[in-house]
């Protein structure tokens, strides 16, 4: 047994979040799975990467060994993000409170509204010859639906998009890297404060004047016989912004980029919209928009003869796991009828995506309505797509579109 597998590192060592890797990750992932299933980076950093389906699933199902506490994902917040950065057993209390909000039953009432809002977004560009799918559709769809769910006014959309980008991609653009780091951190802090103030006002309004939306539910919800504090409600809202917007945008980007480049798959969806449910699952697997998630070890853990020290940061590469031929026969093939499809694009174990049913609803409705309105589309010839590392957005994603009913369309 070795504490650090230098051989594995030199054979398959690469940064899974590198921009070059992000363009074509499947080959890298295969080497990692085959040659270094527990791949380490040199001491003293002690970072590790898990890439096989069985290993990733095992780690996610053992939170007592692989913790999600704030040590794993420091993004500058003062308090732990609920429920993402709370470990079991405490974690279950919050999930019991939050799960009903996001259950299929609770969300089913939203489907008609979602369809209507998605169509309003399509109306804005349907008559154009080309469209940047990312900016015109993939970004506004989840944000619009989030505002609807929370009972917040739609004209706050622009403000929300700005805040979200400042939190996730704050960059002051200064030349000096240290100064830039400081200035960027300051932007994130200020934005965090602005979001907290905005929600504090909205929460106060709901306490005064309850309405029928998710904020009101949160404000009135009880955990072990007591109401949530304002801070706790704020933490949950903050996490929704961090976890529920870019992830859906990235999923829509990846899915449409794939379909635009594979006309036979696009046509299959147009001809048989009932395939959309399976297509969402299979494209979540094949594209895995959230490349990997982080954990920190609570004690030394050995796997495949490699020791991961206590407090080691462990990347669970969901995308590599979802392309593992040990679990998915012929993993490169996209098959909307694949079965079984136990993909873990939405995580696994206790932290499995809280918003998974909302995400699935959004993706299904978006794909159904887009293909109904615009059955014929393709990438603008000559463009090279660029995938962001980590959360795999494709910006821009320029499409030539031909709406339904156009001569020569719908082939």
């Amino acid at each position: 047994m070795s504490q650090y597998d230098a051989k594995a590192e030199s054979k398959a060592g690469f940064n899974p979040f590198d921009t070059a890797v992000a363009q074509n990750p499947h080959a890298h992932f295969k080497r990692l799975r085959d040659e270094a299933p527990v791949s380490g980076s040199p001491p003293p950093f002690q970072n590790f990467v898990l890439s096989r389906y069985e290993d990733v699933r095992w780690a996610l199902k053992h939170p007592e060994l692989f913790s999600s506490s704030a040590d794993a994902v420091p993004i500058g917040q003062d308090r732990p993000l609920i429920p993402l950065q709370i470990d079991p057993p405490e974690h279950a209390k919050y999930r019991r409170l939050l799960d009903p909000l996001f259950s299929p039953k609770a969300l089913s009432v939203m489907e008609d509204d979602a369809r209507k809002l998605v169509n309003e977004i399509i109306d804005r560009f349907v008559d154009d010859e080309t469209v940047d799918f990312h900016a015109a559709f993939a970004v506004p769809v989840p944000c619009t639906l989030f505002l609807r769910l929370m009972g917040l006014p739609q004209d706050h959309l622009e403000q929300f998009l700005t805040w979200k980008d400042q939190i996730l991609r704050a960059d002051a653009g200064l030349d000096d890297p240290i100064e830039n780091h400081k200035a960027s951190a300051a932007i994130r802090r200020d934005t965090g404060k602005a979001i907290y103030e905005y929600f504090a006002a909205a929460i106060a309004a709901r306490r005064q004047d309850p309405t029928d939306d998710m904020l009101t539910y949160l404000v009135n919800a009880e955990i072990e016989g007591r109401r949530l504090t304002d801070e706790e409600v704020l933490d949950v809202c903050f996490l929704f912004i961090l976890a529920g917007l870019d992830t859906v945008t990235a999923s829509l980007d990846c899915m449409m980029a794939r379909l635009a480049g594979h006309a036979e798959e696009r046509r299959a969806l147009v001809e048989d919209p009932s395939l959309t449910v399976g297509a969402v699952e299979e494209l979540l697997r094949h594209e895995t928009p959230v490349t990997g998630i982080l954990r920190v070890t609570t004690e030394p853990v050995v796997r495949h003869d490699v020791e991961m020290k206590e407090h080691a940061i462990v990347t669970c590469l969901l995308h590599a796991a979802n392309m593992d031929e040990r679990e998915f026969p012929d993993p490169e093939t996209v098959d909307f009828r694949r079965e079984p499809n136990r993909h873990i694009a939405l995580g696994a174990g206790p932290h499995r995506c809280l918003g998974s049913h909302l995400a699935r609803l959004e993706l299904r409705v978006a794909l159904e309505e887009f293909h109904r309105r615009i059955p014929d589309y393709a990438l603008v010839p000559g463009v090279t797509l660029e995938y962001t590392a980590g959360i795999r957005q494709v910006s821009p994603l320029p499409l030539v579109i031909r709406p339904a009913g156009t001569v020569g369309g719908g082939n």
Binding site: R57, D99, S103, P104, N341, R342, R352
Partner: protein, 66 residues
């Protein structure tokens, strides 16, 4: 030939794959976790019940032939 199914509540975390695939065998409770509608699965539903069990990322569904 028949089939018995059960969901282990300690393992189920509510992915919802099972009741999406086999809505006549499983349903969601208020938390989105899975509940077996009837432990004895009718022959006509046996295949779809097996598919659903195989799709569970938590391996929370046990199946036995009876």
């Amino acid at each position: 030939m028949g089939l018995r199914v059960s969901v282990d509540p300690d393992e189920c975390v509510g992915h919802g794959r099972c009741y999406e695939i086999a809505p006549d065998v499983f349903r969601a409770d208020d938390h989105g976790h899975s509940v077996v509608i009837s432990a004895h699965v009718a022959d006509a539903l046996a295949d779809v019940a097996r598919q659903a069990a195989a799709a569970c990322p938590e391996e929370a569904i046990a199946i036995s032939e009876r």
